[in-house]
Structures are given as structure tokens and as C-alpha cells.
Symmetry: C2
Subunit: 596 residues, 2 copies
């Protein structure tokens, strides 16, 4: 099994050379006061070390051992607690947190890179800091000053972790029908009662306290999604002086046996009149949740890239090492018993598909992170509004497209290993099992597609879509005379035009047919993602081309060649997707239940 | 977790109504003497019972327990031994076997249906009879009369099972470099020495003896694939009177921990001067293996369908049962808290994609089985030759396309369950883990694609391809005036034309570029499979249309509507595949090792 290597060279290329993040940071005063290029680079370097030397070595054993539940107590796999402590000591949980409460205030363009390395090295572990960061975001955005002062510093420090308690046995996608109830106490707090499932790291032994953000219904709340409120419910109550008090009335009833991310605990949480505090306004809980959703969903997309990067590293090493058969054009290493399998076109096809998606995906997540930073930190209203629109539009694409391609890349990496990919010792099968959840949780990829097509594209009558189309068009125009980009501009323009046409088509359909959005949505998101990755590859070509000549490392020329592969072999998928979408909803709505 | 229901209605439709297997059997005297439609139907019925009430109930527990290895002894999961005994008592291991040695002589068109149900109910278990049947085929085709008389009756009975020992740690795809050696003894037997890995059910406690067919090299054998011979190596030596004698010098060194099919044992087999007997001619071992490969590879394709069918059954039941959100066109069950998720277009898209592949795949495997029967049993030389060509051409498509779509269907089924699909209790995640191996073993799907494009299509200068194209063209011509088929004939003709063009294109490329085949192969196989499934759906429409009117069950009208979905939503993928293939090999061959 290859050891995970933090892909720092690629990360720096995307962050600094493609997107010039340092200039972005300099343009955002609230960012500039916290970070400069040297600090950012030191953070990357250190994050890479933690990922490869602290987290990656625990990955397989974490999967083998899993978390253990015993009478409500959950024990993390061996070594996890110590690794968590390493993160606490380095302040990593608060990397992107609000400096007012002890966070480090780093921009998402940087934090995203840390996340990728952590998730690529050990996804099961990485979920703990990820959930904590999400809980902090919701709390920071919607909690009262009192709640923030009381909880955020310890959560940013990591001594307390966070959990998000949304799902119930009968309510997953449809949170409007949750039953957990919140009844007011006289002191302004609430009694929370109900059962939540699929609560990631809802209970464990790595932190001193666990802060649950719980969706529940107030008495006489309106039916449906507009009657949901958000509550902060700590595992241990916190005394006035900040010390831990008595145990709250909540407990972990069991943990799930599951396909992957076995090193993490997926908890059934029982709230039995637990004491909680309202976060944000009554009945506005879902909205509060959605604040942090854009971050979390991008984070899940990044998990897909992380797993895919690990898969690519392993598969590349194996393809260079494994001797089997001869190259079609004749023996390449005649002194050996066979040639390394990387000589075979089909093995190269698999590696290049992975490389296209991993590196294109990393660029795309950084691109989205850039809009997140602008939307959060810009002083310029117009620029901020534009960025907010981009974030709204691109987030579901990042979540779904990057995890779909993440799984595909993990499967391809496994395939390169042949039979060895199926057995545990090489680690490839774990990547597939772990990565699979990313397409499901934090809103299934089908839900992401509905969000993109329905709420975002149709909901804005195409206006949000136009923001993206404009950005690509501007790039095409600005680079009309770029020699290196010449082979890519025309097919990219054609892909965007195709996406334009399909968007317009579905907008028209949606006006008269309520099923039009759902019939188009998943294929539309795929079409969108493939087009966006074409744009990312064009931007990478632009950054790499001037440095490719005379580059002996192969780094820059590899980028140019991978871009060509992407445009020739993968971008054409958009043609079929467009055709499928145009067939509309009739065929799928025509069947009665019996006819299925 | 839904219980597996043997899909007898669908199987009968394909076998009897679409392909009219009874007429085929009647036309083949050697088949007709063993089977008639009533017998065949009774066999299906009984096979269905065994699948759903004996094998399926053991599936999850088999996965949880796995096989246990202790000092060379492998114990199958609880209940497997008794289930195996049920198969022995019913003579199921010899269903397709040669009647001269105690087999039942049933045609593949029937046996394939039994296989689908067995594999759909419990793939880990189903591998044992599958491997035995494969070993019997090789032995029957190439063994001496003496070997056949000594081993086949007990193997057909199932009291002895079979195993295929090909792979070695350093030699998987490239069997030419195996190291296991066979040295002649004075009595005509050989001493076999070496290590084999990934030997499915190579050791277990379900049968009295295990007959290994082992690839090994004779002293001074030519290098490479032309120096490989095949040997029969029993676990227990067999005395003159047929009773079991002493233990042979072979042992199971360990079993693999793996992603799925955990209920089966994947063995490391050590041969330490074990006594073996040559099967077929010296140095012709690979050819002998390939005799049974066509059967085994179709069998693996059928595993893909079996798993996908199980996934479809579960997902359909869940989609009808799970209440979540409202239909886009307004509440369908206003008295309930939400509508069943089958109202959503995207859930229907997933179910219909699965249904398209499962039912189209079943038709395709039966279509291939039909050619296998003709190639094996026809007295008409011309007909037999045609069928042999079709088998050679279609087998790699059946193996790879059906398992690729099998995994896709298992993943879609899991997706429909949302978070519940990821946890073990619903069984969906096991289907994904189990099905994944079908793309890898028995020649990876990449190797299947090379076999199709290289050996079969290019190797025959397109002649084998023409056989298939002719068959579709004949169908198109014969049904030119079929009203029900009208919407399908034109797109099917267009798809075949596209496949024609791409075939011609790659043939031309291959003449000058050794990498052309490998660059096109996987996409070509996919294009071929999608086109072939279009043909299958057209044939199903032809069979279903006359019965659809007034059919209250929805069975026939469901077929027509699914065909429409397939043609509108899935067949268009061929457009993009053709475009990708035409881009050739340059982009993927351009990178040096460093540039990856």
C-alpha cells in the first residue's frame, strides 16, 4: 500500500498560480489582516505533514477496528484520540474560525486545501473537525453573543467538538416532518425530546464535550419546513465559569454498522428532555442550517477529491511498478519479465481520467472557495452579491459532481490493481467504501441536482446561471489570442453554448411541466460539472503553458497533456447528456407503480 | 430488507416469449432429448424456490461471518454446508453437464436462468457451483476418457467441487509468466509445485473432495503463454475403486480479507509436489482454459444481472414504501405525512435505469446463451460456425458490459435508500461490495474490452463484428412494418450505423497504430453493449406489444415504457462514446511517466 503524500505541489499550483489567491486575500482587508502568502505556505506545509504522517497512518487500522459502542460510551479507534489532540494543539479546528472568538480567520481558499489533505489521508477521522467547523459556522452566524462567547472558543480550540443532529428515522431528505420537540423551560432554555439518527461523531471519547446543533419543533410550530428551530444541546452542561457541569439528558443509543468510514461513529442520539438553547430565531432553524450548508457541502465535495487523490497516488505507483504483459508497440523493458502496466493505453486512460477529475476538481473547489471568500469578506457590495450568487449556484455542483467523480476515480484506481484492488491490504477497496458516503450524506446528490436546477437555475429564472456563463465568456474573450489556449477555446465555447441551450430548454419546460426539473436535474448537474471542469482545465493551461517549456520535472507539460485528454475524451460526454435531458420527463413519468 | 424474489415472470418472458427457447431446443436433437418446455419450467420453478428460500436467507449472515481459516482448514459460514447439500440432492451442480458422465445435459438458455437466480440470491455461495461447472467443462472438453470417468460423475453430483488455479502473486492478467512447475513422475502423473492466489473456494468444508485445475509449466516448456499446461490436482487422491485415498500435497495457506463476497473463500493455495494429471495436451493449457472461459465469462456477466436484480427489487419496494416530500405536481397521498418517493422523477430515473439494464441484460445473456447452445449442439455446420463466431464476439461484451451496468445498478439502488443504503441492515451496501468483484475477476473488464476489440473485431478483420451487425439488420428488415416497433427502429438503425462506423474507424487505425486498439477498447465495448441492449429492448417490444393491450398486470405495458425510457435516456450515450473513441490514442500516449 502506497503511503499518502500530501499533494502540495499541485495544491500550490492551483492556489497560487491558477487562482492567485494571495492577490485575492490582499484585496479583502478582513482576510489580509490574518494571512499573508508566507503564513499560508507554512500552514500548507504543516497541514501536509499532519495529513501524511499523523492521519494517514491511522486510516486502515481505523477502518479495521471501527468505533466501539459500550453502554452509551463510544471509543474511537486506537490512535484517533492522540491524533485529535495533535489537531487541538495546532489550533487546526479553528483554522477558518471567527477571530473574535479565538478562530484563526483563514480564508476558505486556504482552508479548503487543508481539508483536502485531511480528508484524503483519513476521511473517517476528518469528519470530526469538519462537523465541528460546520457547527461553529452556524453558531457564529446565528447564535446570540452569549452562546457564541460560551461555546465558540472551546469549539475552535477543539477541546469541544460539534455535531449536527438533523435526520430522524422517518425524516431524511424531508426534514419538514421531523418529530423531535423542544419545550420551553422557565429559564429561557428548552427541553429537547426525540431521536436522531446518522449523527456523525455524535458521541466519542476524543473531546471533553460535544456540542450538538439539533433541529426540533416548538409546541404549536407551523407544519413543514417553516416550523423547525435550531437548538444548541451540549453533552455536558457548561457552568457560568465555563467549567463542565452535569451530564445533559442525551445519550448515544447505538452506532451503525456501515459500508465505510468505519473509523467514524455514526450515532443514534436519544434526547430525553435534554437542556438546549435556541440558535437564531424560532422556526428559522432550516435557514440557519443552510448558512453552513454551503461550506459543508463544498467540504463534502472536497472529501471526494481527497479520496480520489489518494486513489490516484496508489494507482499511479502500482501502474509504474506492476509488471504484466508487453506494450502493444513492443517490449519497453526487455530485460524484465514484462513491462510495467503503465505502458498500456487503457491503464493510461484510467489514470488520466482520475487525474483529470482530481486536478480539475481541486481547481473547481478552489474556484468555489474563492467565491465563498469574496461573498464573506468583500467590502464591495456588487462584488459580494455576484459572489453570493456564484456560491449558491456552484455549491451543489461542487458537492455532487466532485463526489460522483470521486467515486468514479476510486473505482478506477481499484480497477488498475486488478484482483489486488479487491482485497483489503492495498487500501483501494477502503477508498471506494469510504468515498461512497459522500454521494449520500449532506443532501444526496439527487437533492443537490434538484437544488441546482430547481432552486438555483429555475428559481432565479436563469439569472444565477448567467453569472457563471458570463465568467466563462469573459475568460474566453480575454484569452482569445492566447496561443497555448487555442486548441481549448473553441470546444470550451461549444460546451458552454450547449449548457446555455439546455438551460434555456429546461427553463422553458419548467414553466409548464412540474416534472421537468426533476427529470433533467441529475444529468444537468453532470453536464454543468463537466463544462465547469473544462473551464478549470483551460485556466490551468493558461497558468501552466508559459512554464512548460524547459520544465524538466514534467509538472507543467503534464498539465497541458492532461487538459488535452480531458477535452478529447471526457468533455464529449456533454453531447449525450444534452440529448438525454432534451427527451424530457414523459418517459419516466409514464409508468404506474405496477409497471415498474 | 426486502426478501429476494425469484424473477420468474421476467425470466419466462425472456426465455419463452422473446427468444422462444423451446423452439430452439426442439431444433437441436441433442438438447431435445434432455429437455422439453414442461421440464424446463419445472426446473425454473424449483430453482426459484431454492434461490429465494434456501440461498437468499444465508446471504447477509454469510457476509457478516465470512469464511474462517484455521491451520489450513476453511469453514464456510453457517448454513452454507446444508445449502450446498440441498444443491447436491437436487443434482443442480450437473444441470448443464454431459449426460455421458451423469450430467443433466440442460441447455445454457435454461441453465443461465438458474445461474441468475442463484447469483442474485447469494453470490458468495453461488461461486462454488459456478467454479465446479467451469472445471467440469474444461475437463469434459479436454480430459482423457479415464480422467472424465474418474472425476466428472462426482463433480456433477457436487459431492466433489471444482476450483480453477490460474493466478500467481506476480501473474494475473499475464499468465505467460507463471512459475508453478509440473515435473513428470514415472507413473504418468506429475509433481506440481508452486503458489496460486485468488483461488475461489479453493478450500472449504462443503464437499468431500476438491478438484483443482491448475496451470503449470513443464520442464523446458517454451516461454510465455505457449508453455503452459493444465493439470488436474485433487485435494484427496482417488483410489482405483473411486474411494478417497490419502491427502494430496496441497494446502490452503490463508484466505484473503476482501471488500465483498465475504461468504466465499478466496484462497492462497500451496502446491508442494502435489500429484496431478495432465488435462489435454502439453503446453496447450491456456487453450483448454479458454474452452470454459466463454461459459464462465457469461456466468460472471450473469452475476452482474443477478446482483442488479436484487438491488432493483429492494429499491423498488423501498421507493413505494418510503414517504418523503411531495410530488412536484402536488400531493399524491394527502392523507399521509408525505408521498412515497417513487413519485419523484429522479427516483424514477434511477429505477428505470436499473430496470433497463437488468431486463435488457437478462435478454442479452439469454441471447448469448442461445448462441452457446447452437455452437455446442447444432448439427448444421454453417449454423454452428455462425454461432461460434457470435459466442466469441459477444462473450466479452456480456462479461464486461453486464457487470459494469450491474455495479451501476447496485449503486443506484443504494442511492435510492439515501443514508439507509450505506448501513448494513438494508443489504444494499453488500450488493455493491459483492458486485464489484465481477468487473475484476475472470479477466478484468479492461481485458474483456481488449479481447473484443483486439482479438475478435480487429483479429477477424471485422468479420465477427459483421455477424452481429447482420443479425440486427435482419431484425430491422423483418420488422420494418411492425407498428409497435416503429419508434424504435430508426434510433436502433442509427445506433448500429454508429457502431459500424466506429468499428471501421478503429480497424483502419489499428492497421497503422499499435495503441489504437487499447485506446478505443473500453469505450468501444460500452458502445457495443449499449447498442446490443437497444436491440434487446426492440426484441422485447416486439414480444410484449401484442399482449400489452388489456393487460391489467402492467407487465407488458411496463416493458414498452421501459423500452422508451432506454431509447430516450440511455442509448444516447453512444453518441459521446463514438466521439471519445475517434479522438484516438495520442492524448493518452503522450505523457511520460513523470507527467502523470
Amino acid at each position: 500500500m502506497a503511503e499518502y503524500q500530501a499533494p502540495l505541489r499541485d495544491i500550490r499550483f492551483v492556489m497560487n498560480e491558477v487562482f492567485d489567491a494571495p492577490s485575492l486575500w490582499a484585496s479583502l482587508p478582513k482576510v489580509a489582516e490574518n494571512v499573508d502568502p508566507e503564513t499560508a505556505d507554512a500552514i500548507l506545509e504543516e497541514a501536509g505533514k499532519i495529513a501524511s504522517s499523523v492521519l494517514a497512518p491511522l486510516n486502515r487500522e481505523g477502518d479495521e477496528q471501527g468505533c466501539q459502542w459500550h453502554e452509551g460510551v463510544v471509543t474511537a479507534p486506537e490512535g484517533f484520540k492522540e491524533a485529535y489532540q495533535t489537531l487541538v494543539e495546532g489550533g487546526w479546528n479553528g483554522l477558518g474560525g471567527n477571530p473574535e472568538f479565538g478562530g484563526m480567520g483563514m480564508p476558505k481558499t486556504l482552508v479548503a486545501q487543508f481539508e483536502e489533505m485531511m480528508q484524503g489521508a483519513n476521511m473517517a477521522f476528518g469528519l470530526a473537525p469538519m462537523l465541528t467547523a460546520g457547527a461553529c459556522l452556524a453558531l457564529d452566524a446565528h447564535g446570540s453573543q452569549e452562546l457564541k462567547e460560551k461555546y465558540l472558543p472551546n469549539m475552535y480550540a477543539g477541546t469541544w467538538s460539534g455535531a449536527m443532529d438533523l435526520t430522524e428515522p422517518h425524516a431524511g431528505t424531508d426534514l419538514g416532518i421531523i418529530r423531535t420537540k423542544a419545550e420551553p423551560n422557565d429559564d429561557g432554555s428548552y427541553r429537547i425530546t426525540g431521536t436522531k439518527i446518522f449523527i456523525t461523531w455524535g458521541e466519542h471519547d476524543m473531546a471533553e464535550n460535544i456540542i450538538h446543533l439539533v433541529l426540533a419543533k416548538l409546541p404549536d410550530a407551523p407544519k413543514g419546513p417553516k416550523g423547525i428551530s435550531l437548538f444548541l444541546v451540549p453533552k455536558f452542561l457548561v457552568n457560568e465559569d465555563g467549567s463542565l457541569g452535569e451530564r445533559n439528558r442525551l445519550s448515544c443509543g447505538s452506532i451503525e454498522k456501515k459500508m465505510g468510514i468505519k473509523g467514524s461513529a455514526t450515532c443514534v442520539m436519544n434526547f430525553d428532555g435534554a437542556k438546549g438553547w435556541l440558535v437564531g430565531e424560532e422556526n428559522k432553524g432550516l435557514a440557519a442550517m443552510f448558512t453552513m450548508m454551503n461550506y459543508e457541502r463544498l467540504g463534502v465535495g472536497i472529501q471526494g477529491i481527497g479520496a480520489a487523490e489518494a486513489s490516484l497516488q496508489n494507482a499511479r505507483a502500482y501502474a509504474l511498478d506492476r509488471l504484466q504483459s508487453r506494450a502493444p508497440s513492443g517490449a519497453q523493458q526487455p530485460d524484465k519479465v514484462a513491462d510495467p502496466i503503465i505502458v498500456h493505453p487503457d491503464v493510461r486512460r484510467m489514470l488520466l481520467t482520475m487525474k483529470s477529475y482530481v486536478e480539475g476538481g481541486r481547481a473547481f473547489s478552489t474556484y468555489v472557495a474563492q467565491w465563498l471568500d469574496i461573498s464573506k469578506y468583500s467590502d464591495d457590495d456588487e462584488r459580494r452579491t455576484y459572489a453570493e450568487g456564484m456560491v449558491a449556484l456552484l455549491t451543489p455542483v461542487a458537492k455532487a459532481f466532485l463526489t460522483d467523480r470521486g467515486l468514479e476515480s476510486c473505482i478506477l484506481g481499484q480497477q488498475i490493481f486488478g484482483g489486488h484492488g479487491f482485497i483489503r491490504e492495498w487500501g483501494q477497496e477502503q477508498l471506494v467504501r469510504d468515498c461512497r458516503i459522500t454521494q449520500i450524506y449532506e443532501g444526496t446528490n439527487g437533492i443537490q441536482a434538484l437544488d441546482l436546477m430547481g432552486r438555483k437555475v429555475v428559481g432565479s429564472q436563469g439569472k444565477l446561471y448567467e453569472l457563471f456563463a458570463q465568467d466563462v465568456t469573459r475568460f474566453l474573450e480575454d484569452n482569445r489570442d492566447n496561443e497555448a489556449l487555442r486548441p481549448f477555446l473553441e470546444p470550451l465555447a461549444a460546451a458552454v453554448e450547449r449548457l446555455d441551450d439546455v438551460t434555456e430548454h429546461v427553463l422553458a419546460q419548467a414553466a409548464e411541466n412540474p416534472n421537468a426539473v426533476g427529470a433533467a436535474s441529475v444529468d444537468y448537474l453532470d453536464l454543468f460539472g463537466l463544462t465547469a471542469l473544462g473551464y478549470m482545465w483551460a485556466r490551468m493551461v493558461k497558468a501552466a503553458a508559459p512554464k512548460a517549456e524547459g520544465d524538466r520535472s514534467g509538472f507543467y507539460s503534464g498539465k497541458l497533456k492532461t487538459a488535452r485528454f480531458y477535452f478529447e475524451r471526457l468533455l464529449p460526454k456533454t453531447v449525450s447528456l444534452a440529448e438525454s435531458i432534451r427527451s424530457g420527463s414523459e418517459a419516466m413519468m409514464a409508468l404506474s407503480a405496477e409497471e415498474f
